[in-house]
């Protein structure tokens, strides 16, 4: 399972670092591809932009998606993904700071598989990430 990639879409470098630390702490050794905004995430998924030429048949095991990002937000990313046959069924975990109802409901409507609020406390954040990894990387059978 270790060959499966986790796509982390997060613009905040602090959060990226903390997420990576939490994954590491949870003994999740999978490769983590970080896209610092929605545009880059889509480039990665569809082999465009700086990722042009990438083998797009190699899809991430799970995508951890932030909602509030410059250029292209998480909701638009989700929308594009679900509209594309290649990424239509990819598991997407919305990992966000916001607990606004609107964001949560939109996410689920657009086919997010999970919605997780990042706790401020790192211990709790680490615990949440660990559980996510356990579920999506170990227990969950990927569609592809």
């Amino acid at each position: 399972m270790k060959d499966k990639v986790i796509l982390l879409v997060e613009d905040n470098p602090d959060d990226v670092k903390l997420t990576l630390r939490a994954l590491k702490k949870s003994n999740i050794r999978n490769e983590v591809v970080v896209a610092s905004d929605g545009v880059k995430a889509l480039d990665y998924l569809f082999g465009t932009g700086e990722y042009s030429g990438r083998d797009t048949s190699k899809v991430p095991q799970v995508i951890l998606l932030d909602l509030n990002m410059p250029r292209l937000g998480g909701i638009e990313v989700l929308q594009r993904m679900r509209a594309d046959e290649r990424t239509k069924l990819l598991p997407v975990v919305v990992l966000t700071t916001s607990n606004e109802d609107a964001g949560r409901i939109d996410s689920y409507r657009l086919g997010a598989n999970s919605y997780v609020i990042k706790p401020v406390d790192f211990d709790q954040f680490a615990k949440a990430v660990q559980q996510l990894g356990l579920y999506w990387l170990v227990l969950n059978e990927a569609p592809y």
Binding site: R21, T96, S98, E100, V120, D121, F125
Partner: protein
Amino acid sequence: MIDDLSWGSHFCQFYQTKNDLFDILVPYFTAGLENNELCVWVTTENLRVEDARKVLEKAVPHFASYSERGQIEIIPNSAWETVDRKSDKAIVAMGDKALSAGFDGLRLACNALPEKRGVKVFSGCWTDAISRSNMIAMFTYPRDEFDAIGLMEVVKNHRFALVRNAGRWEVIESSEARTVRDALKRSEEKLQSLFSNMSEGFAYHRIVLDAAGRPCDYIFLEVNDAFGELTGLAREDTINKRVTEVLPGIEKDPVDWIGRYGKVALTGKPAHFESFAGPLKRWYSVSAFSPHKGYFAVTITDITERKEADETLQRGNRKLEILAESARLLLTSKTPEMIVQAICEKVMKHLECHVFINYLVEEGQERMRLNACAGITEETAKGIEWLDFGVAGCGCVARDGCRIIAEDIHTPDERTSLVRSIGIQAYACHPLVYQGMTIGTLSFGTRTRTHFSSEEIELMKAVTDLVATAMARKKAEESLVRAKEEWELTFDSVPDMIAILDNQHRIMRVNKPMARRLGLKPEECVGLPCYKYVHGLSAPPSFCPHSRTICDGSQHFDEVNEENLGGDFLVSTTPLRDKQDRMIGSVHVAHDITERKKAEARIISLNKQLSLKIDELSFANRELEAFSYSVSHDLRSPLRSINGFSQEILEDYGDKLDENGLDSLRRIRAASQRMDLLIAGLLNLSRLSRSEVARERVDLSALAGDVTGHLQKAQPDRRVEVLITEGLIDEGDERLLYVLLQNLLGNAWKFTEKQANAVIEFGAGIVDGKHTYVVRDNGAGFDMTYADKLFRPFQRLHDTADFSGTGIGLATVQRIINRHGGQVWARGEVGKGAAFYFTLRSSSDPEKPHEKGTIKCE
């Protein structure tokens, strides 16, 4: 024979000597004197007056007294010679003289004249005068001067003749005279039989005159059986008796019997009359005539029954007249209560009553006021001016509505004491009843009789009913007038302008407000076309609702702006129909809505302003949402970094730091965590302000159980006695109420942490008449001095070291309660616990029906 001669007899005597004369004339005059007849003796040539007087003096007892009274006149033959025998004047005058001097008649004796021998002595007129008057006449003839033929001639001229024959006096009658006498006798017998058998009473009398020649009495000479039967006077008690003896007091009878009969007897003029004989107490029809002067006969018929029937009839007529007159007066009078006096006085007189009393009920009271009366003194009247129901006869009648007839009043009785005191013996009081309502009483009383006849009672009842009807009619009229006045007053008092229009748009009537607006008097508006005077147009305007009402016969409304009248009006036209349901016009009501229109305009302008404000507000709300999002997202990220990297330092480089450094790092982490809670609380608070509050059925007991269950689960070691009243169900937003209970019960849970026997309670009851919930604990409590700070955000009454918390929980509670329209307040004491009370609806909301119960609110 000589002493029993009837009036009208005339006969003759043939004499030869003086003694022949004396033989006849002495008994003749004796009888006359005794029979109260004026006796006149004209002597013969061979007899002197003195001699004749001497003979009579000697033969007649008490002759002197007769002579003194002038009852006997002896006249010498010579004085007689001058009398004119061709006329009856002299003899009639003599008869009159006899009667006027108080004698019953005249008895005459006179000598036939020798020088007229062979000539008829009497003319027929003498014979006639004698036969029809109270007169008896005898004529003496010297026998020796007549031969047989002469004798027969004389006899033929008299009824009979007395002739001495062989020493005895014989009566010689002419065959003619005998025939006449026989016929007379037969006729007399017939008359006698008729007289006895006739059904009418018959009586024959002689009038008696006083010294002045006026009739003063009369004597019964003959009566028939019927007379006795009709008068009740026996024959033997009447014959030859004076009427003043037979019927004492008759001379005072107003009918003046003696005077009337006297006139008949003296003038000979017959009389016929009907009279009530006081002494006999009967009514008679009387015919009187006089067969001779001084005498009269009467035939009588008892007409008492007929008279009584007449009387009854007359009374009946009189009664009807009274009723008709009363009815006319009462029904044409505008003030029947004033007429009662006059009418009742008439009725009283007719009924032979002496008192009448009329009371009228005071409207709406159980008492009456004296309206009219007669027969009682003014003082008495004043004393009985007011009479309560049930007091005295009239009061009882008024109360019960039944008449009272009190007759033969002499025993003491409360109800009749008044009338008895004024001598009334019979009293009848009738209620004045109209349509089942007693409006007064009318009573009559009499002093002279002890009873009333049913006929009299009937009349009283009829008069009473008349009076009642008249008064009721007047009342009805008054109420009609009042109703009309009230209607007009209402019509004019309505501020709306009302006009009654006919089908040609002409004003039939307007109320005062309408007339005022037109600048006219109401009566001046009649007949004016409304479109001209109201709208200043030459035809009805297009919007005219009256035109539409005329067209379809139904009611129409319209709002009309009429500058002529200076404003806006809501006009309604309601069809006006006559009794045959034909539309004759409409009632046109104009309600001034100028002010309302202005207010409406103001409201529209205010609404516009309001919607602008709302737009502004919703813009602000959207701004706030954006802000909240940025707060939740953008403020948290740095916190997470602070927290996360502090943790990293602690974990990865902890061994390179001393204890002080480690402690500072831990504090940084703790601070970031607290700030996270603050941000979460603020977000919650702002979300509360924005979200809609649902009104659904919420089981608060279940929610409380849920909350305390979670609390227990989070701190399984805590031992807390939780008392939740079951079945507290209300309306509200379940999610918000959950947050509310979470905060309140969470606080209670938190502040009883240091309490060994912690008790947390959730209940409900009535406080100040309102359904109130309470969350109470026996924990740390608080100082009431700062109670007003409790519900402000970020205000804490406890040290963070003692009890953790953000200071936002109670602000949230306050917000939730506000959003429900309720109230929240707290009571507490340091070290003894706290109680939080809340209601879920505003005072204007209908109170939730709830089982009775109270909660302590200290």
